[in-house]
Amino acid sequence: MIQTENVLFTIVMVGYFAAMILYFVFAATRKETLWKAAFGIQAGCLILHTAALVIRGIGAGRLPMTNQYEFATCFAWALCLVSLIFIHKYRFPALGIGAAPVIFLIIGYAAMQSREVRELMPALRSNWLAFHVSTAIISYGAFGVSFAVGIMFLLREKLKEGSYWDQHIPSLQKLDQIGYRSVSLGLLFLTFTILTGAIWAERAWGSYWSWDPKETWSLVTWIIYMVYLHLRLRRGWKGKAAAMFAVIGFICVIFTYIGVNTFLPGVHSYA
């Protein structure tokens, strides 16, 4: 079973890489078929990726979300899912140009981690694991998309109105709204993550908040996106400033995920 999962994982990683290259070539050559092919490859990879996760889950006898490898591969999966939904919903094929490299980087990070299936330590044997980690995965995926939208916004600004890209990249106003919606999705799920984590910690350790580095950085990330919302609402910080804020916010998300695990060990050190 693990062998099958390994094979699927490798195919998926190669697929995400191919999709990324196709998006780049599409950006350079403007051939319509290329983004369609990239979108198709990503959609196919998402199905195989889902299969790989299901196989790992069956093999491990639990949800595959408990160590660095599993979280990273789920993160890439969620980012792919959310970006495909946004591409489809907002008729925004060029979003893949910004999202595909992030998906590939995250799955590449997953490939560098140990894929060994380990049994869960007692603290992780809880039904709250599913709620806490799955909401974190969706949240990170949505923030990844907001990062990609932010990048596309900054690129779109450099392009002239009436150019070829008008068909593939929404107007700056609409991009701003899409970015806001992806941040909204991420923030809502991040709040779920923090809340479910607190309830779980209360059951496991008798302390729903203990200023563990991961908790603290999740709070920092939450505050950053709250500041983003306040700035948008009250200070008219839309457009370029909001796009740059979304990019900075995602850097904070990445630090919360990888940086904290690497430099600031705590009770989440296994994650």
């Binding site: 380990r118 049994e119 330590m121 007692p122 603290a123 044997r125 809880s126 107007s171 106003q173 609409k174 701003d176 709204q177 806001y180 919606r181 909204s184 923030l187 809502l188 709040t191 779920f192 923090i194 809340l195 607190a198 309830i199 779980w200 209360e202 059951r203 496991a204 350790w205 008798g206 302390s207 729903y208 908040w209 200023w211 580095p213 603290t216 950085w217 709070l219 920092v220 505050i223 950053i224 709250m226 500041v227 306040h230 700035l231 609402l233 009250r234 200070r235 904290v260 600031l264």
Partner: protein
Amino acid sequence: MPFAIGLLSVLAIACALSSLVTQGQAYNWYVSKYGERTAAVIIALHADDAYHSGWFLALTGFLCLNLIGCSLVRLPGLIRRFRRMGDPDAMGEPTATEEGINKPESVFEALRMPAPTARKNGEGREELYSAKNRIGLWGAWICHIGILMLILGFALGQWTGKQETVYGVPGQTKPLGDTGLAVTIRDFTVSLREDDTVEQYTADITVTEQDTGRSEDARISVNNPAKRFGWTFYQNSTGYASRVRVLKDGKDLQEEILCVGESLAVADKPDLIIHFQAFYPDYVMADSGPATRSGQMNHPAWLYLVAYQGQVLGMNALMEGEELTIDEYTVLFDQPRNYTLISAKRDLFTPLALAGGLVTMLGLMLALYVRPASLKAVKDGEAWTVYGRCEKGGVLFAEALRDAADAERKGKPEGKGEQGT
């Protein structure tokens, strides 16, 4: 608002920087890690216990004041806006306008608006109006109240809450701090899997109210606490314990159960201390020092330290059956077992913090996903003009209205419903 933004930014920076400093260590620890000058700065700024420091509490206090002020100031305007949304004459500046509509009802339907009410406006023209998702206006306000409840619940819990710990091996009864309760550990099991990893720690305890003698049994394991006499008991952690016997001239002098890290003073020579330093169930001498190969009791070894009048006399490992002899005294370690550390907590304000979290969540959902919108159609000759107003996400709403209007003009219903959330 600028104050709130500044305050949130400062809080984020303070939390981030504080997380980089290991919390709760002694001055000497910081000196050895960062050097004397940095350690002095850490202590001076209370960065060693940043989240309980005066400046951090002051920041949180300002945040609470800001939340209270903001909620009070915004309340009257919010009530007015909420009421106004139901009044077609007070609709305000439209986000988008579409002209030349023959059947405005289909536009209302496409945008998933409630059935419009018809009337004649002040100019005597026919008018249709409906509004939806008015509750969404309350999202940010509810979110602020939720955060306030959360901070209040956490602060009161920190202030009034109590936490105690007790540890021991099966058969022992120990008082739970000064709570008036005693905990008897009846049984403690470490369930191992085939690969020797721990599956679960389970303790069977009896909690006794010392004044009344009333007692209640409980079984606790990791993630499964139990509530007794208003206290919640948690299976916190575990370690090794052992029986230690001291013989004098071959005769039993004393017998105690020591957990790793505990010491025993010899009964008739209290300056002589036996310290139980560590235990290795499957002892092996590795390059880095004593270690254990597994969690199984295959080759147990006890690491001890002997001190007399504060001076260390020696430190070594004893294998099973080996004795330690100090003058006329013989020390024996045997019957190794696991001890359990149980923590107990009483915090009356945890439910308030939890409710605050849930209210925050509800507020965010309303603020981010329930978008208040109103639609008004006014008959202009034979055709209608439709005015749409959305309180959030105007661009996407305008696009949805345009799509619905285009579909109506072409004579087919468009069920996009951008504002359907």
